[in-house]
Symmetry: C2
Subunit: 210 residues, 2 copies
Amino acid sequence: MSENIKKVPAVVVKRLPRYYRYLGELMKQGIKRISSNALSVKMNVTASQIRQDFNYFGGFGQQGYGYNVEHLHSEIGEILGLNDGDTTVIVGAGNLGRALASHNTFEKRGFKLIGIFDNDESIIGTEINGIEVMSVDDLEDFLHANRVDIGILTVPKAAVVETAERLVKCGVKGLMNFSYTELNFDKKVAVENVHLSDPLMTLSYKIKQK
Amino acid sequence: MSENIKKVPAVVVKRLPRYYRYLGELMKQGIKRISSNALSVKMNVTASQIRQDFNYFGGFGQQGYGYNVEHLHSEIGEILGLNDGDTTVIVGAGNLGRALASHNTFEKRGFKLIGIFDNDESIIGTEINGIEVMSVDDLEDFLHANRVDIGILTVPKAAVVETAERLVKCGVKGLMNFSYTELNFDKKVAVENVHLSDPLMTLSYKIKQK
DNA sequence: TAGATTGTTAATCGATTAACAATC
DNA sequence: TAGATTGTTAATCGATTAACAATC
């Protein structure tokens, strides 16, 4: 029941989306409550870890009963900030940028895509998923006119640092970087570097071991 | 100098692609050798960890000198199996499937995309990145005629389990799953579940803490 | 109430870091 | 050779698991 005083380890935070996913699934199945033990079997982790993880945020269960699935799901969503209506822009309307824009997964988790930018004249003005592609030249204007929380970077590697800095300068607080470099900002800016080829490489490694 | 006897921790394997990336970058910059200490500064990890990690595979350095960048890079590539010419197919030619097919990152790491499949008649027969989209009905025929190592699953959630099983039944050894479920196969099949919304959610969390 | 299951403390395990002898 | 830096062992730290008292 302790307040959120001690810092939550990054490893715990990284597990939250997975809990969120499983609990969402349970809800869909109409399951109202679940014990840490039952959940541990489904998720293939220990019940101890589940209870420890949840207790970083102050215990959402009830002795003798377990956890209310819907309540726990919504609490984790709240912890992750999925109800904050975070706004995003995608910079780089290439294949990946377009795919992410068209994907509805992000919206489903409560993120609002409000702008797509590119520097290709032939793309600017076209629509992706109902949003008009704007020129990167208008990036600052847009960012000053609209609060943007998260920037999704699907620009070529060579452009990523400059683009990131422009976003940050205009108040963007988080960056999701898909290019083959690693962005590193000071503590003020949160960064997630996503390298799609990494899991493919570890797969390749695992296959060799078989 | 020990042989690859004790099992390499998963956490070490996961770091290999990152080393590979940094070493590739150093090569491009024309840097021939580097000490664990210099690399640790660049990568923002400890020199100790770097040396420990490499020693799981048997020490690639030289006392008093450091590591030969090109040699280390190629050794890590070898460990990851990037020279094995692993073949892949993409099942699901939606936005994400198309983006991955068009992306040249996978090829650059030595993976060969040899087939794309979908069930949409209007897509079948069209070309993506020079590869014709085939019908999923022909999946088994294709897999029997061609050795496929890794299957990349960009099908809707509802179809993923069945599709995965079909691939595995035909000898596919690894699966990269992009759908919003988690695949779990027995030890024989390697699986990497990639959830693109996870990093976005942890970003959202981190932003809240600032 | 008795049974179940949490919240939480204590024990264990594994991963990271420090230290240093080996050696290029 | 002297200096640098690895490979590797030992110490520390943190995360996971086990255990159990609290309590619904």
